[in-house]
């Protein structure tokens, strides 16, 4: 096993801001908004209409097809509307809006524990599917699909991803410290689906308490290994983890399961444990509210559909005397900027970061011509040549970009843009070129 993946960068992790804030639940007070498209695949189909009364944990939208996931209410109240609302991406999307009555009356108690050992493979997968679980690492791929690969016997590693390599975010750190046992139960349940696999919990070394807690909880489990990893971005990328743990590099056209790996975020593992043991659907998850512009950084268990504005207030609001320059959902490397705080939390939202500096704006002011320094090539975790790709893109040579430089292998981790001393917007260019090439391919039939 190699010590670390190739390439990568070392941004300041800034986790001290929120590292020690204990996990606490936050119950929203205002209306709750549930976008129907929170996952990769087909959007869910709403099964409630205006005026319906719903309870906590009640299904309000059903999975539409195999690669899709259901959506469950996180509050009790009356459906106000099913209409287009603004979401994180800045676009208007179909949403279920619920007038929250603040009582949080649950639809079931979820306190009867089933021993997973008594459940068949199909029953486990059913329970995961019926809980609407998606990958909580950020991509939001429906988990039941991930757990049903073509060749379950060929899976060698089930990796619980607790790397949390994005700077600022500490939610998974706190979750591992407080819910180590449940996370490992989730991992063991997953391992039941793959008889030839071993479990690995990957944690970056900047989370010693989490490593300690997980190691304690894993004592006596012979198929589970806790793996501390060097602190380096993008350590938590599934390709980086597989490169280290299974020693395999694979193209973007393949899935981790194709090379014998299943990677799930520790938060997803927690959700799997709750879903399989108690049949509790996914409607809460951990989210870090942090950043230099936040008064009291928090690690919260938030309910889906909560407005981000409420979360800022839950963290004491914007720090006095600090100018808020940027709002991010997710970490600063791959997260998205928010134009407005009046958008709802989705299943995959793992952080709200309020910054007093705008790195992109500063970079734009410092931008020079490309130096050919080769730093981007050194840090690219995929082994690509970003400088040449950018040159080819600028010259409009898409043939060279795709065929000679393998430009479509870019996973948009942002390492090259981060390290570039000339402050070139590399990742942005690659995203654009990728969509351009994909559009051309679709137009051309194949």
């Amino acid at each position: 096993m190699r010590n670390t993946f190739r390439g990568g960068v070392h941004p300041k992790d800034r986790k001290d801001l929120s590292r020690s804030a204990p996990l606490r639940s936050y119950d929203a007070t205002g209306e709750m908004v549930f976008p129907l498209a929170q996952h990769i695949g087909k959007p869910a189909k709403a099964v409630v209409k205006k005026g319906d009364r719903v309870l906590v944990g009640q299904c309000i939208a059903q999975a539409d097809g195999f690669v899709s996931a259901g959506i469950y209410s996180s509050c009790s109240g009356v459906v106000k509307a099913v209409e287009k609302r603004r979401v994180i991406s800045g676009t208007m999307q179909e949403c279920v809006v619920i007038d929250n009555d603040g009582a949080y009356t649950p639809v079931a108690s979820w306190d009867v524990k089933t021993d997973p050992a008594t459940l068949s493979r199909e029953e486990i997968l059913d329970r995961v599917k019926n809980a609407g679980i998606v990958g909580l690492g950020g991509a939001g791929f429906p988990t039941h699909v991930k757990l049903m690969p073509k060749d379950p016997d060929g899976i060698r590693y089930v990796i619980a991803n607790g790397a949390e390599c994005e700077p600022y975010l500490t939610g998974n750190d706190q979750l591992m410290r407080t819910e180590a046992k449940t996370i490992l139960e989730g991992l063991e349940i997953t391992l039941r689906l793959f008889p030839h696999a071993v479990g690995v919990v990957a944690i970056e070394k900047n989370k010693p308490e989490a490593i300690e807690a997980m190691t304690q909880a894993a004592r006596g489990m012979d198929k589970v290994q806790i793996l501390p990893l060097p602190t380096k971005y993008p350590q938590g990328g599934e390709r980086s983890l597989i490169q280290v743990i299974a020693g395999v590099d694979f193209p973007v056209s393949k899935l981790p399961a194709d090379v014998g790996c299943i990677v799930d975020n520790v938060g997803t593992m927690y959700a799997i444990a709750r879903a399989v043991q108690y049949q509790e659907p996914l409607f809460t998850h951990v989210l870090t509210v942090t950043g230099e512009a936040v008064k009291e950084p928090q690690n919260l268990i938030v309910r889906d559909g909560t407005s981000f504005r409420e979360l800022v207030e839950a963290a004491g609001g914007v720090k006095d005397g600090v100018e808020l320059k940027k709002i991010l959902v997710g970490g600063p490397m791959m997260g998205m900027t928010l134009g407005s705080l009046d958008v709802p939390v989705q299943k995959t939202s793992n952080g709200l970061v309020l910054l007093n500096r705008d790195g992109s704006e500063e970079a734009q002011a410092q931008m020079t011509a490309c130096l050919h320094c080769g730093r981007c090539t050194t840090v690219c975790p995929q082994g690509l040549m970003p400088q040449m790709m950018a040159e080819a893109a600028e010259a409009g040579d898409l043939e060279r970009y795709e065929k000679k430089l393998y430009g479509l292998e870019c996973v948009a981790c942002g390492s090259c843009t981060y390290i570039c001393p000339a402050k070139r917007p590399l990742t942005q260019t690659f995203k654009q070129v990728k969509s351009e090439i994909m559009a051309k391919k679709r137009a051309g039939g194949k």
Binding site: P167, D249, F250, G260, G339, S360, T368, P421, T427
Partner: protein, 527 residues
């Protein structure tokens, strides 16, 4: 909090390093070299450096203004160019030289091709070569302690001895930035900070060293190799010029090839070329090859490399070193061991061989000047030998050189005779070296061969008394060779039958020695 903030794609944080920061660090890394250069060469060197930098930055500033381009002069890259150009100049050049060089470097080589990141050859080297071509004499005038001398690299090319320690410290003459120690300090700092690529600087040094070791004619003699590396801008080229970002490849493999090209070309120019500062040209040549390397040498992403493809299929692929056939490894090891052993034996026995040559010569001197206890020279002989510079002696003796001419003294310090060592290249099978001995009155005592490798039974018979005795006990100024025999007078020599070429060569060598004796030694004494 209600205003829409700047929306942008990730990443939203950036590394601290900027273009300006990198260029400033490179400038700082050149400071030790500049300081040593000024300390060694005096204030004029400082003026050269300042002129060069000011004109470099000024040219870029003016170009920005005239061409309405963003203020690129602020990125400090022109400072690096100015510094590099100044450090590669002789400390005696008039100030218009760095000024013109900087203007050419920035305006023509850099700005006209689009500025930073777009130039196709290293601007500093372009400036330097422009100056070399335009002001050849001024550029190659290198004073040391007030006297124009050859640079250490030029001395090396001429096969002369150099002081490696002084070259290392930077006090042996040459350009302003010739302190290898200071250059290495700066270069290694840049390397450890990951600013310059080890793939380039070390492959340049490695390629150059290997080439010089293989083709320099002195094997792996460490003193020779260190002297070659320390001279002629090799270190500055490897650490500061070859590593220029814009004109070197981006990929690791490309960088390695690029570096080796520079090193090998530098070695070729150094050993077979005429100009001592040819490292500039080897870097520029490699600069021109960079676009080609960039086009064709593209590393595949990790997922598409052979090992990864095998692993994706579930196979294990042995690492590279395990896939080399065993006989190949064995052969390489044997070759290496033999090579190292040979060069080791050579350098170990080199001194012994020379000693034996000297001993043989000394023995020959004694043999042809009986009664001599010691041998010495005088000022006439010394100046005559110096004037010869080891070249061909006279015009009618063939390819003859005078190796040494000595006066033999007895125990009391009285002159008892003269010995002259002569080599002719006209032998049938290589060089023939003989010592001619005369007594104090100019009568020939005889000749003794110290090097004779002619054909046995033919040319070799020139060593027989039958032939050599003919030279003994006579006092003549020139012998004549009779090819068909029949010598009756003192000044005629019968050729060895069947070996007239060798005989003629020997007679010519003896005549050359006699001529030297007549002109510079006759009646000479010590004093």
């Amino acid at each position: 909090m209600n205003t829409v903030l700047n929306l942008s794609p990730g990443p939203h944080i950036r590394d601290r390093w900027t273009t300006r920061y990198i260029m400033s660090v490179v400038s700082l890394a050149l400071m030790p070299t500049a300081i040593v250069g000024v300390l060694v060469n005096g204030l004029h060197a400082l003026l050269i450096i300042l002129t060069s930098v000011v004109f470099a930055v000024g040219t870029e500033f003016l170009f920005d203004k005239v061409a309405h381009r963003p203020d690129t002069w602020k990125d400090c890259s022109a400072v690096v160019t100015g510094l590099l150009l100044a450090l590669s100049l002789s400390p005696s050049v008039p100030l218009y030289i760095p000024a013109l060089g900087s203007i050419f470097a920035i305006l023509v080589a850099k700005c006209c091709f689009g500025g930073l990141g777009k130039n196709f050859i290293n601007p500093a080297l372009a400036g330097r070569c422009f100056l070399l071509l335009s002001f050849g004499r001024t550029m190659t005038d290198f004073p040391l302690d007030g006297v124009s001398t050859a640079t250490p690299a030029a001395a090396l090319m001429a096969g002369e001895a150099v002081n490696v320690t002084r070259m290392f410290l930077g006090t042996a003459g040459g350009v302003i930035g010739s302190s290898v120690l200071a250059l290495m300090v700066g270069g290694l700092i840049l390397w450890s900070m990951d600013i310059i690529h080890g793939q380039i600087c070390f492959s340049v040094l490695g390629g150059f060293t290997l080439f010089v070791a293989l083709f320099g004619g002195q094997g792996f003699d460490p003193r020779y190799l260190v002297a070659q590396i320390c001279g002629g801008g090799v270190v500055m080229g490897a650490f500061f010029m070859a590593t220029d970002y814009t004109t070197s490849p981006v990929g690791k493999l490309g960088q390695l090839i690029y570096g080796v090209i520079i090193g090998v070309l530098g070695g070729v120019f150094r050993i077979y070329g005429t100009a001592a500062d040819s490292f500039s040209y080897s870097i520029i040549t490699a600069n021109l090859l960079t676009p080609l390397l960039e086009t064709y040498i593209i590393a595949k992403p990790y997922a598409y490399r052979k090992a990864a493809l095998a692993r994706q299929r579930g196979e294990e692929r042995k690492p590279f070193y395990q896939r080399i056939p065993r006989p190949v490894i064995a052969l390489v090891i044997i070759t290496l061991v033999a090579g190292v052993a040979l060069s080791g034996v050579y350098s170990m026995t080199k001194d012994t061989i020379e000693e034996q040559h000297r001993a043989a010569a000394a023995a020959a001197y004694v043999a042809v000047v009986p009664g001599a206890e010691s041998f010495t020279t005088n000022s006439d002989i010394d100046s005559a030998m110096e004037a010869l510079e080891g070249g061909i002696y006279g015009s009618d003796f063939g390819r003859v050189t005078i190796n040494e001419a000595m006066i033999g003294l007895d125990a009391g310090g009285n002159v008892v005779g003269y010995a002259i060592s002569v080599t002719t290249a006209d032998g049938n099978d290589g060089d023939i070296t003989l010592t001619l001995g005369l007594n104090a009155d100019g009568v020939i005592n005889g000749i003794a061969f110290t090097e004779l490798n002619e054909t046995p039974g033919m040319g070799m018979r020139c060593g027989d008394p039958e032939f050599t005795d003919q030279f003994e006990g006579v006092s003549v100024s020139r012998f004549t060779l009779l090819k068909s025999g029949g010598s009756i007078t003192d000044d005629t020599i019968d050729a060895i039958s069947g070996a007239t070429v060798t005989s003629a060569a020997v007679v010519n060598a003896v005549n050359a020695g006699l001529d030297f004796y007549e002109s510079h030694m006759k009646g000479g004494s010590v004093g």
